[in-house]
Symmetry: C2
Subunit: 403 residues, 2 copies
C-alpha cells in the first residue's frame, strides 16, 4: 500500500436528506483536519452537481460551534443532488479533482453514492491519478447491504415511533380507522419502526404493510375490518411502497388510474394519494364512518430538533472512520457491525468494498416479519429499539376499570 | 357567595386532542385532592358521551408517577367526544351528576366545551342543584376569546415551527416548491407558527396563507412564481382553512369537484387533497418540475415526546386554577393574561364568564399579518415565540461563499 497522498479532500452529501447526514459530514471534517496529508477540506455544493461545476466551499474554516450546530441540523447542509453519474460524468468530476489537487473523496449517501464513489475511483485508476474514494453510509430506508444498519435510520425510526405512539393515543381518544403512510419504497424497515412504541396488546399500530409482503385490497380490508370489530378502532401503518398482490405498488396503480381521468388537473400521484386512496377503500367498502389518513412525508427525514443520540454518534463516527481508512487504504465503504450477544448495545466499524454496497439494496429479513406479513416480530424490536434511543413513556386512562 | 358544596368532582376532556390537555387534567386532579370539599375525583370516559352513559373512572387513586406520565402524554387520556350537547342532553348529564352527588364539573376543551359547561350549569340552576361548572381552555388553533392564548397552542406551534425549520433545510438541499398544509380551519395562528424558526431573509416558509385572508389561485400562483424566480425554490405554509377569493375554503371546493367525478371511489375530501390540489396547480400552471406537498395531519396535535415546557406548565396551572376558582365561585372559565411590557414572559390567570368564551372564536388580529396577507409581522413572532420555548439552532452551509 502506497503512503497517503498529500492534497485536498472533498466531501459531498448525496440523495435524500436525513436527520444525521450532517453529523457524518462533521465527522469527516473534524477527522480530516487532524491529518497533515489533507490540506484543504472542500464541501461540494449539491453533491456531484457541484463537483462538475467546480462549486466548493471551504469547510476547514468553520468554527467548532458552527460544526456542532451543523451536526445537530437535519437535512444536507451542503445541499444534495439526485444525479446518478455515469462514467462520462465521473470523468468530468475527475478533471475538477485534478485541477484542485483533490486526493480524497468522501461521499455520504446510499447505494447510488457508493456506486458513484466506485466509478470515480475507477476513472481515477484508469487515469493513473492517486485518489482515495470512500463512501459513508446514509439512508432513512436502512436498505444498504453489509452494514448492520444505516446512519439516518435510527433518527427517522424515532420520529415514526413517536408519531405512532401519539397517533395511537389520538385514535384511542377519538376511535376510528387511522392510516399512516410512511417512507420506504422498497424496504419496510421504517414502517416497521411504527411498532416500536407498542406496549399493551391493544396498542396500535394494529396492522403494518410492507413492500416486502404484497397484499390485495381484499386482504387489507378484511384485516382492517377484523381489528375494527374487535377493538372498535384500528391504526394502520403502510409503507409508501406497499404492493398489490401482483407485486406492483399501489402508488403506481393509483397514478395510472389518474392518467385516465378526463378531469385532468387533480394530480393523484401526489404525496397524499396513497393514504387517501386507502382511506376511501375502507370508508366505502367497510362502511366505517370515521376514517382518517396521514402521509408523514418529509417530516420523518428532516425535522429540526429530533435526533436519536445513538444515531448521531454513529453517523459522526462513520464520517471520522472514513478519513482514518483513507490514510491506509485506496477506497472502500464504512460499515457497522453490532457487538456480540450479551454485550451492551454498540457497534464496531469496518471497511468493505465499494462494490459490495453499490450494487444492490437490502429488504427486511423474513425473521423480522410476522407470519401474516402484517406485523413485526420481537426480533425486529430487539434489532431496532437500540437505534432510536429510549422512547417517551405515555399513558391512556380511558381503559381503566369503570367505577 | 355560598360556601363550596361537599361532593364529588368530574373532569372531562372534549374536542380534538392536544399535546398538553393531559397536563390540564393532571392539574385538576392534583388540586382537587387538596380540598376536603371534594370527595372522589371522577374522570368521564369520552367526555359528555361517558357522562350520559355513567362511565367514569376513579382518578383519585392514580399514583404520582402515573400522573406525571399522563401529564407528559399527548392526546386526551380520558378519551374525548365530538358531541355538542343541547339542553336535553345536558339534563341527562345532570341526572347522572345527581345520582353520583357530583358537585364540581371541570371541562377541558374549546369554545364548544365552554358552551357545554354553560348549559350544564344552567340546567343545574333551573333544577336548584348546587353545581360548580368550570371550563379549562384547550385548543391547538388558539382561537378562544378572552384568554391571551390557549394551552395546546404552544406545543402544536413548536411542532410546526420545528417541522418547517427542517423542511426549509430539506428544500434548500433539494430545491423546488414545497407546500405544507397545517391545521386551522378558521384561525391562522398555527400556520403562522411555521414562520417562527426563520432567521435569514431567504429562510422559508416564504409564503403563508391563512383563513383570515382569502386568496385566488391566480394570486397564489403568481406569488409562488415570484419567489421561485428569485430563489429557485419556494416553501409555502397553508392553513387547511385557506379560502378562495370568494371566501369559500379550497378544501370544500375540491370536495365539490370530486362529487361530480364519475369515477367515484377516489375520495378527494381526504386529508391530503388540498395539498395535492395546490401542488398540481403549481406543477401544471408554472411548469415547475419538483413540486411536493405534505399535510401535517394529526402529528401536529399528538406527537409523543414533544411538548413546549411553557405550554405544559400553563396547561397544568389552568387545571389547578379551575379547582381553586370552584372553591369560591359558581362557574367560569380560566383565562390567561400576559404580564405587562418590560417583564420577563409570564402569565397571570383570571376567571371569565363561561358565556364570554362559549359564543364566538377569535381570528388572527390584523397586526399579526403582513400587508400582502401572505406572511406574519414581528408582532406575531413576539407574541408566539415565548409559547413554543427556544427553538433548535440549525445551519445550512450551501450558501457560504464559494472558493
Amino acid at each position: 500500500m502506497a503512503s497517503a497522498p498529500k492534497g485536498n479532500a472533498v466531501v459531498g452529501q448525496s440523495g435524500g436528506p436525513t436527520g444525521v447526514i450532517n453529523a457524518s459530514l462533521v465527522g469527516v471534517i473534524e477527522e480530516a483536519k487532524k491529518h497533515p496529508e489533507i490540506q484543504a477540506v472542500y464541501g461540494a455544493v449539491h453533491a456531484v452537481a457541484g463537483m462538475v461545476k467546480d462549486e466548493f466551499i471551504d469547510l476547514g474554516k468553520l468554527s467548532a460551534s458552527t460544526l456542532e450546530t451543523v451536526a445537530a441540523s437535519p437535512s444536507s447542509a451542503l445541499g444534495t443532488s439526485r444525479d446518478k453519474p455515469d462514467t462520462e460524468y465521473c470523468r468530468r468530476i475527475l478533471e475538477v479533482f485534478k485541477k484542485r489537487n483533490i486526493r480524497y473523496f468522501f461521499y455520504i449517501g446510499g447505494n447510488d453514492s457508493a456506486n458513484t464513489a466506485y466509478i470515480v475511483n475507477s476513472v481515477a485508476e484508469e487515469a493513473g491519478y492517486d485518489l482515495r474514494a470512500f463512501h459513508v453510509p446514509k439512508t432513512v430506508d436502512n436498505d444498504l447491504l453489509v452494514t448492520d444498519h444505516c446512519p439516518g435510520y435510527g433518527t427517522a425510526a424515532r420520529f415514526v415511533a413517536c408519531a405512532l405512539m401519539g397517533d395511537d393515543l389520538d385514535n384511542r381518544a377519538l376511535p376510528g380507522v387511522k392510516i399512516d403512510v410512511i417512507m420506504g419504497r422498497h424496504a419496510g424497515f421504517l414502517t416497521a419502526a411504527a411498532a416500536l412504541g407498542k406496549k399493551k396488546d391493544d396498542d396500535g399500530p394494529h396492522l403494518l404493510y410492507f413492500p416486502e409482503r404484497p397484499v390485495s385490497i381484499g386482504k387489507f380490508l378484511s384485516e382492517v375490518e377484523a381489528v375494527y370489530k374487535k377493538l372498535n378502532r384500528c391504526v394502520v401503518a403502510v409503507s409508501e411502497g406497499m404492493c398489490d398482490a401482483d407485486g406492483e405498488t399501489w402508488a403506481k396503480k393509483i397514478a395510472q388510474d389518474a392518467e385516465k381521468d378526463p378531469h385532468g388537473n387533480i394530480q393523484l400521484s401526489g404525496t397524499g394519494a396513497l393514504a387517501d386512496f386507502l382511506a376511501a377503500q375502507v370508508k366505502n367498502n367497510l362502511k366505517i364512518k370515521r376514517v382518517r389518513a396521514d402521509t408523514f412525508g418529509y417530516l420523518q427525514r428532516s425535522f429540526a430538533g429530533l435526533q436519536s443520540a445513538v444515531d448521531v454518534d454513529e453517523a459522526r463516527r462513520c464520517g471520522r472512520q472514513a478519513v482514518l481508512y483513507a490514510m491506509q487504504e485506496d477506497n472502500g465503504s464504512v460499515a457497522m457491525k453490532r457487538l456480540g450477544n450479551g454485550k451492551k448495545y454498540g457497534v464496531e466499524l469496518f471497511r468493505t468494498e465499494l462494490k459490495n454496497v453499490a450494487e444492490h439494496t437490502k429488504s427486511m429479513p423474513a425473521e423480522f416479519l410476522n407470519a401474516d406479513g402484517n406485523g413485526v416480530t420481537p426480533a425486529f424490536v430487539e434489532y431496532a429499539l437500540p437505534l432510536t434511543g429510549e422512547l417517551p413513556k405515555t399513558e391512556y386512562l380511558g381503559g381503566y376499570p369503570k367505577i
